[in-house]
């Protein structure tokens, strides 16, 4: 079919989303996309989801950290932000989502807000709450295994 004239084509906004989870979380593009759609469906309903028309453009995730590029229709960015904020877990794994910024083009969004990983994570024992415990340390964040479950910490807690 012939392309729509320019003034009738949808205008898009691209949201850069930072992701964080426990180090053993296994997030994939597919599961995150499903979580995004469910979240939009549940918060905004079918009409609202159709208006925001969210789609996942880019996704990367490894070792408890990642980022995603979500496309939303211009004028529905706040609804998109709300739907994204309501993603609390993906396939049972708790995640933190933070919208880092919004741009009008994929390229501007990538250049300004993406590619901020804090590097590789290291497995080592740290002294936490009175004894040595296994932890995954990534930049200035450390996820510690304790008897009572996992605890998020930083070097201030063990150095």
């Amino acid at each position: 079919m012939k392309h729509l004239p320019k003034h009738l084509r949808p205008r898009w906004r691209y949201l850069a989303v930072g992701l964080e989870a426990w180090p053993d979380a296994d997030l994939s593009r597919r599961t995150f996309q499903r979580a995004l759609w469910y979240s939009a469906g549940n918060l905004l309903g079918d009409p609202g989801s159709a208006d925001a028309d969210l789609s996942l453009f880019d996704f990367s995730f490894s070792e408890g950290e990642g980022e995603a590029l979500v496309r939303a229709r211009h004028g529905h960015v706040e609804a998109a932000r709300a739907a994204i904020a309501c993603i609390s877990d993906v396939d049972g794994a708790p995640v933190r989502v933070t919208v880092r910024g919004i741009s009008g083009t994929v390229r501007a969004c990538e250049e300004r807000y993406m590619g901020r990983g804090s590097g590789n994570s290291v497995r080592r024992d740290i002294a936490f709450a009175g004894s040595d415990r296994p932890a995954v340390v990534r930049g200035d964040a450390a996820d510690v295994e304790t008897d009572a479950g996992r605890v998020g910490a930083t070097p201030l807690d063990f150095e």
Partner: protein, 231 residues
């Protein structure tokens, strides 16, 4: 804007980790609701540029034990919140001048009405809008939480009772940035400004109580300072 959090050992992140995350999300500070949490506020401020206020969230069986707990903790904690969710506790919290925040008034069997709203306005007890279930629950639980929030909002609005907003995070993964909470608030019937005001109200509590707990403060309107030499 501040956010009030449940830290380790009650929650799954230390105060420092909360502070690191809150700084990334654009908060000015955090209020720690966990009495047992250990932290070094000065080190955290230096490292992450985020203010940390010590607080306590009192969970009591009834007004009697709640009163004792408030008396015990008030001198040592900047922010005293009382977990509601029971009619007698809700009533006690809004009628007490020494309680800063009534948290989760609608959880459990708790109810809220015009009498409590008026008392909250009179005694300056902030009523908490808990966004936790909106962000993290699904299905019927979420619908109930949303309808409770709507009811609470209508009553609080009408009587101009003071309020705070919080995501009630129990781990750094549950924190949401102020802009995100404002967007969620708009989606569920709050105005973006109201959510921002609810987050900023924590700052006001921290500021007022720090002044009150400082040595210069003697009583409302009375403080130790330099006397006037001439008129």
């Amino acid at each position: 804007m501040y956010e009030a959090v449940h830290a380790h050992p009650e929650g799954e992140a230390t105060v420092a980790r909360f502070a690191r995350t809150a700084a990334e999300q654009g908060y000015d500070g955090i209020v720690v609701r966990t009495r047992e949490a250990e932290f070094d506020a000065d080190a955290i401020r230096e490292e992450y540029g985020v203010d940390v206020a010590a607080g306590v969230e009192i969970r009591a069986d009834g007004p009697g034990s709640a009163g004792g707990a408030v008396g015990n903790f008030r001198p040592d904690f900047t922010v005293v919140t009382l977990r509601g969710g029971d009619d007698a506790l809700n009533r006690f919290a809004v009628e007490s001048d020494r309680v800063d925040v009534l948290s989760r008034p609608m959880s459990g069997r708790g109810e809220f009405n015009h009498v409590l709203a008026k008392a909250a306005a009179e005694h300056g007890t902030r009523v908490e809008f808990d966004f936790g279930p909106v962000l993290r629950s699904t299905g019927g639980d979420r619908v109930r939480a949303l309808s409770d929030l709507r009811k609470l909002r209508e009553i609080v609005d009408h009587y101009d009772a003071p309020f705070v907003v919080s995501a009630n995070a129990r781990s750094h993964l549950q924190l949401r940035a102020p802009r995100e909470l404002r967007a969620v608030g708009e989606a569920i019937g709050f105005s973006s400004e109201a959510v921002a005001a609810g987050l900023a109200e924590w700052d006001a509590i921290v500021g007022t109580n720090r002044r009150r707990l400082s040595e210069e403060f003697i009583g409302p309107g009375v403080k130790r300072g330099r006397y006037e030499e001439e008129r």
